[in-house]
Symmetry: C2
Subunit: 203 residues, 2 copies
């Protein structure tokens, strides 16, 4: 054997051991039920990652519902796509924009309440397998909805479906009851280099 | 005015100031060109976030190409969805599975090389606006493709389109030339609680 062939043979033998170790690890993972998923942190990707899971779920024939809590008054790529393909999933744009744009606390509370009531309907509807509550964390962080009420409902949720909640600054009470939490950390963001938010990337 | 009304009025006035500050900040962000995006870290969501940006891009009428470097031999939600909707985007599954499953270094190198050649075609094709190189980081980390060659090509890339590269353990050389880098941090993962990987979430 050449030196390269020897290297490859060693690599292949090592991978056989890695595979065996992974199989033992997978065999211990037997639980299966609907997960409560939280995407938080200052980095980019929290909502888009939820939309990606929606696509995966659709690929398995699962029924998906999305409620957007903040976005609403402006055009986004996801809104264009899902509204152009209404048979794919239920897409409810119930936000009225950032609080600094609405400048109306009473209206913010009313919009958030309506979005939460719709979210509860989708969560309780046995037809749905995956529910995304996009930017709910923002609303909770601003106490526009009471965290205790939301946590009590989610603790008692049907365990037959996944729920994914996005938005920076997730409340500790929510992280505590979640099954899967990812913190999206900003390493480099083009904003700081003077770039505009761009179609397809940020919205 | 009641106390609540006073609170709301103060909130609304503050939001007006926040809005003005944000508008000044946005006015300084004027650059616009194709971004090199890297999703790395041990947390969940790197690939799904890229697929979510694909959906956003489709919503803006952009043309999207995806090359998968590792996944391939097994069924995934994204593969099911994109292959069932072939008119949406170009989806190339060119991986042959994890190295611990292939156990064949020579074959891994050949598959990665073919995926990279196809990636270059898509990147150089002026029709495409958004290219995803899913799990390329894994291949680079294992030196299955030479990082110097990939970095040299990407530095010289057309700036008319976005490129998103995913996978844990991104090489520092890649992070250095990227415009947008998100580190996906694992806060809680259901694996550790004994859960299986689940449809719609992990694959």
């Amino acid at each position: 054997m050449t030196e390269t062939e020897q290297d490859f043979a060693r690599h292949n033998a090592r991978m056989k051991r890695v595979q065996a170790a992974r199989e033992r690890m997978q065999a211990r993972r037997t639980l299966e039920r609907g997960l409560l998923i939280v995407h938080t942190g200052n980095g980019k990707g929290k909502s888009s990652s939820a939309f990606g899971m929606a696509i995966r779920s659709l690929g398995w024939g699962m029924k998906v519902g999305i409620v957007q809590y903040v976005k609403g008054s402006w055009e986004t790529g996801e809104k264009n796509f899902f509204q152009a393909n209404p048979d794919l999933l239920t897409f409810e744009v119930m936000g009225e924009g950032f609080t600094w744009d609405t400048q109306d606390r009473a209206r913010d509370i009313e919009a958030a309440r309506a979005a939460w009531e719709r979210s509860k309907e989708l969560i309780l509807d046995p037809d749905y397998d995956f529910i995304i509550l996009d930017e709910l964390n923002i609303v909770l962080r601003q106490d526009t909805l009471p965290i205790d009420e939301i946590v009590a409902f989610l603790k008692d949720r049907p365990l037959t479906k996944h729920i994914c909640i996005t938005g920076r600054s997730a409340k500790p009470e929510l992280i505590q009851i979640a099954d899967l939490v990812t913190e999206f950390g900003e390493v480099k963001h083009p904003y700081h280099a003077g770039f505009k938010a761009q179609k397809g990337v940020e919205y």
